[in-house]
């Protein structure tokens, strides 16, 4: 009897803790992955506001879409295509979560409605109060001239911007010239803080940017966006190709010249080259 009671209590507590745990997991996943572009009841960011999404869409539609929106869009789903077009054709990155984890996120979203309604926090622009100094530091951080405190890789390694002050940049990831127009300062900050893109996530794991650095880089990207019509960065790609060709031709020609200068044949060549009378 006593034992049964104990078992029941343990089971109840267990289920309770499990549920809480699941809810917690959903919250954590949402904050690290989704919050960069989505809010719950705080208006649209990069992607749509997700409050009430569970009522609007079925779970059967949501789960595959969250898992890989590109697949759903490519399959020709009309709703998916419409949303994609509405939000400036920005792809939502695929996530490597299990179905249970996605469901936990959705559960968190539906549980959060009330919270969002209660708090009614005013979103303040993180760039308010930034000066030219922030932009300057942001440029240094972006171009890698000043390293990040936690030794994260410099932005310029993968991203390109239209800016005369940046000499050359990587082409692995997106061009960030118009990032501010698309994402806004909150979006940019959110992406930097918890990148939803697999490569970027891997690059910045254990190398988080400090709050100040986030603000500086965001300020710089805003500046880039504003200044982009006045920027005429020199395109070095053809120059590089041309110089490469010149160097190649020079080396090739000198090799050829050196080869002609070299003693290539035996001094008795005309004797050795005579046809042999012996049949091998």
């Amino acid at each position: 009897m006593n034992k049964n009671l104990m078992n029941s209590i343990l089971l109840i507590v267990g289920i309770f803790l499990f549920t809480i745990g699941r809810a917690d997991e959903g919250e954590q996943l949402f904050k690290t992955t989704c919050a960069a572009c989505h809010t719950i009841g705080k208006g649209r960011l990069v992607g749509p506001d997700l409050s009430g999404i569970n009522q609007k869409r079925s779970k059967e539609w949501l789960v595959p879409f969250i898992k890989s929106s590109t697949t759903v869009i490519k399959s020709g789903d009309t709703d998916a295509v419409a949303i994609f077009k509405e939000y400036n054709s920005i792809m939502m990155p695929d996530v490597a979560y299990s179905e249970a984890q996605i469901v936990s996120i959705l559960n968190y979203i539906s549980s959060d409605i009330s919270d969002g309604a209660q708090e009614q926090t005013v979103i303040t622009d993180i760039l308010s109060g930034t000066t030219l100094e922030n932009i300057k530091v942001g440029l240094l951080l972006f171009s890698g001239k000043q390293p990040f405190t936690n030794e994260g890789p410099a932005c310029v390694g993968c991203h390109k911007v239209k800016d005369e002050r940046i000499f050359s940049s990587g082409t692995l990831a997106k061009d960030l010239t118009e990032s501010y127009d698309i994402l806004g300062s909150a979006g940019i900050a959110a992406v930097i803080k918890s990148p939803p893109f697999p490569v970027m996530t891997a690059a910045f794991t254990n190398h988080d940017l400090t709050e100040e650095e986030v603000i500086n880089v965001t300020a710089y990207l805003k500046n880039v966006s504003e200044e982009r019509y006045y920027q005429r960065p020199t395109d070095f790609s053809t120059t590089f190709a041309f110089f490469g060709l010149v160097v190649f031709v020079t080396i090739f020609m000198s090799t050829v010249l050196l080869y002609f200068k070299r003693k290539k044949f035996p001094v008795n060549r005309e004797i050795l080259d005579r046809p042999s009378k012996v049949i091998n």
Partner: protein, 496 residues
Amino acid sequence: MDIRSQISMVFHLDKCIGCHTCSIACKNIWTDRKGAEYMWWNNVETKPGTGYPSKWEDQDIYKGGWEIKGKKLSLKGAGKFKGLKNMFHNPNLPVIDDYYEPWTYQYEHLFEAEEGDDQPVARPVSLITGEYITPKSGPNWDDDLSGSQEYARKDVNFKNLSAQEQEAMFQLERMTMHYLPRMCNHCLNPACVAACPSGAIYKRGEDGIVLINQKKCRAWRMCVTACPYKKSYYNWNTGKSEKCLLCYPRLESGQIPACMHSCVGRIRYLGVMLYDADKIEAAASCPESELVDRQLEIYLDPFDPEVIKAAKENGIADSTIDAAQKSPVYKFVKKWGLALPLHPEFRTLPNLFYVPPLLPTMAFVENGTYETTSESFWGAIEKSRLPMKYLANLFSAGNEKTIEVVLKKLMAVRLHRRNVTVGDLPENEVTDPMKEVSMDKDTADAIFRLTSLPLFSERFVIPAAHREEAMEMLESTADVKGNHGFGFKEPPKRGL
């Protein structure tokens, strides 16, 4: 005065029979290895001929040795700037066919061939590719004037001879030749040492032997280009260059080099010479006509008390000075002035000296008859079968006077000995030539003895290597005194 000792050699060309025993002795000891098959650290050439590697004397092709640029001595094919410029393509190297493609014969076929109508043969097989080849050249391909139209005609030493003189040499009755055994000259001013970018080549302090450190060699092959005698060879298997080491392991244990020990004609002499290292640069950069005389000035009289004192101050052992006094090389080169360096115009100051061959005209064809009578017993030196100019190109940088004196001395010795043993010559025919080269009877007898009847110990005077002292320079031998001997390879068993 910076006196050092140098092991030098004299080859008496009149005695060389061209048997190549020296080359084989060397090959069997040192170059019978993979990658070294084509090397002949010692080889015997026929002159006139192009030699091995073909036309090695033509420095317009191979750019070996030194040249005077302005007033300074500089390497013809290497050196600081030129060396750096040519380092990665090394334009003047001989190709393998300039030496020859080494081969062996498929001897097993003689035993393993299936029974058939024909006698089985051992076909030649390349030692480089392993495929059947037809040998088209070899290290002594033009031996005994074979193929003289192809080879002897192209001898570089004909350069200053008129067409008429050259033509005369190839007339059947006048045709002549002599052998020229060659090996590393262990020069006083070695171009190979100067050219090496890795600093792998060095001239040993105690006896002047030039060696290549196989651990330091980085296969730049600048020494192959730089050596005007082409006596540095590249081993394609080990990726290192190799050269004659004057059998130094044998010398250090009191034996003589294999090529000299095996010499059938006993043409080779070896001994120590003391020289003044301070004079090397001046001697190597003097005008071509003085080269031989200036080089011979470097070598010093080992009996001169001042020289002995300076030598001792420089750490030269008494045994070495004693060996220098007994040195047959000193007698041939300095005392009697009979031996000359090969191609001194390369300016490396070689330490291998040659007694030039005496090839007197024994007869000539006159009015269709073979005429053997002449005014004197042997025809005049000037009428030697080899033009004086040709020998001068070989041994005295074109200075005919030097060669003439040597040949006259050799002739005087012969006339004197003829007079002693047969006594059929008129008095003045013997005394006049001797007077001309101011040679007395004792000297002539001494030259005769060392040329014809030398003992083994007279031909080769090797100084003690004093390896015990060399050991003490490397480690203190007293350190291990009273220690436990060599120890045990297996621990000793104890108890019963």
